[in-house]
């Protein structure tokens, strides 16, 4: 009896000890819309440089808050510039380190077998519900709100909004078939399995991502090198392949 207790204790201790860091690694906080492309780039960068790149994906607003609360992120990749501005004001990112070269577009998605007529922004007003990444904070939702407000439709659409944690959750809500439409990035739509693009948003707001090493990083060299890699030819190639748009260097 006593022996089996001891064995259990040893096993548990081994379990705890097993959690140790093997190689140098950097932690990248990335906007949910970047999931596939960053994972791909992180893998190829890891093979090339020997630096392991691990990720935490989510709404840029959540990630920015976590960095401000002291999360040990080495790189932050936001889907808008506002969250990066906030980190810069908090002294967590240096203005000169920011790279802003990536853009995207908005589309309206519907369940694959939807029979509703959804072909322009006006049609959204007739839907009972529409999923958006929370327009109170999350970039994708803020862009969508800006677009609809510009058309004078926001007041009528706001009561129908199902706010979600991030843009991928808005897409997932449509994929269940229970929510008739969502506004997501063009690049998200191409990851969908049971949703399709009803129409692409034209003349939407300018979408600009922002990436920078976090100033408090303990691996600042590795972080800066990874950011340079993302902004370099290989990074740009991968993003373009996934449907993102590369902007010329934006002067700030």
């Amino acid at each position: 009896m006593r022996k089996s207790w001891l064995l259990a204790l040893v096993c548990f201790a081994l379990l705890v000890v097993g959690i140790a860091e093997p190689r140098p690694e950097i932690l990248v906080f990335g906007a949910a819309s970047l999931t596939e492309s960053l994972e791909e780039l992180g893998k190829s960068y890891g093979e090339k440089s020997g630096t392991r790149v691990v990720f935490s994906f989510g709404a840029s607003s959540d990630l920015a808050r976590q960095v401000q609360a002291g999360a040990p992120a080495d790189v932050f990749f936001s889907a808008d510039t506002a969250k990066m501005d906030a980190l810069e004001r908090a002294g967590l990112v240096r203005a000169g380190d920011r790279r802003e070269f990536l853009s995207n577009g908005l589309v309206v998605v519907v369940p694959s077998d939807s029979t509703r007529r959804v072909s322009n922004a006006e049609d959204l007003v007739s839907l009972p519900r529409i999923a958006l990444a929370d327009p109170a904070a999350v970039p994708a939702g803020i862009y969508a709100k800006k677009w609809l407000a510009g058309l004078g439709l926001w007041e009528r659409i706001a009561p129908r909004v199902v706010p979600t944690l991030d843009v991928r959750a808005a897409l997932a809500a449509v994929e269940t078939g229970a929510i008739p439409a969502a506004v997501v990035y063009r690049t998200d739509a191409s990851t969908a399995r049971s949703a399709r693009v009803a129409f692409a948003v034209v003349n939407g707001p300018e979408i600009l991502y922002s990436v920078a090493p976090v100033a408090s990083s303990k691996n600042s060299q590795a972080a800066a090198a990874f950011v340079a890699f993302l902004a370099g030819p290989e990074g740009r190639g991968e993003f373009t392949k996934r449907g993102f748009v590369i902007r010329g260097t934006v002067q700030r």
């Binding site: 929370d134 904070a137 979600t164 229970a178």
Partner: protein, 225 residues
């Protein structure tokens, strides 16, 4: 409490109450049978009933989501019948009901098990059928356990988060309970508003734990006397 806080509070109480009432008959039935029947079947049933207690709530949420999505096995039937569940208040009730069920059943089962079987046999020998014995003998003897189960299930329902957000989302005024609102407010930077709700939940939790404490203490004193 502000008006919007109060409506979140009311919605939370309402769905938790509906969920608890909904699972009560099935819970009593399950507890009664689990307390009586022996063998491997009972162990299997007991394990299945307890699963939501041990599984990650998001796992339960995903299973429900898969079943209910428009092309899922249940979703298809419901869709044909014109019943909408996902992302409505009904989804909140469903998620909290499933997650609370084991907490309802366990204390009730223990209470039924503690009943002296001779009392039940006596009831039967006096000419009562099994249903009458259950209603007139077992249930009155096990009422404290039943109440404890109801309180536990209700408090679990008040705080359910993981399964709820998966199948009901967090829609203000419709599916957003206190647990979800605390999360959503923190996530959009309204920490103060989130803290107000936290205060409300502390008061409710205190009241519930206090009540169940008083109930158990009375039982102990009576047993001692």
């Amino acid at each position: 409490m502000r008006a919007d806080d109060f409506s979140i509070f009311l919605l939370t109480l309402r769905v938790a109450a509906i969920a608890t009432l909904l699972i009560l008959p099935l819970g009593i039935f399950a507890a009664w049978h689990l307390a009586r029947r022996g063998g491997a079947l009972r162990t299997l049933l007991e394990t299945v009933v307890s699963l939501p207690l041990v599984l990650p709530p998001t796992a339960v949420g995903l299973l429900l989501l898969e079943a209910l999505r428009t092309h899922g096995p249940l979703g298809r039937l419901l869709d044909r019948a014109g019943i909408e569940i996902l992302f409505t208040w009904k989804a909140v009730v469903l998620a909290t009901a499933v997650m609370s069920f084991p907490l309802l059943v366990r204390p009730m089962r223990t209470a039924f098990e503690e009943i002296d079987p001779r009392l039940l046999a006596m009831g039967r020998s006096l000419g009562s059928g099994p249903v009458a014995v259950f209603r007139r003998v077992a249930l009155p003897l096990a009422w404290r356990g039943t109440l404890a189960g109801v309180l536990l299930a209700f408090s679990r329902a008040l705080g359910e988060f993981g399964a709820t957000i998966m199948i009901a989302g967090s829609i203000p005024g419709r599916t957003q309970t206190m647990a979800l609102a605390i999360f959503q407010r923190t996530h959009i930077g309204q920490d103060e508003g989130a803290m107000r709700l936290v205060a409300v939940t502390v008061v409710i939790a205190f009241a519930i734990v206090w009540t169940s404490e008083v109930l158990t203490r009375r039982r102990t004193q009576r047993t001692a006397a």
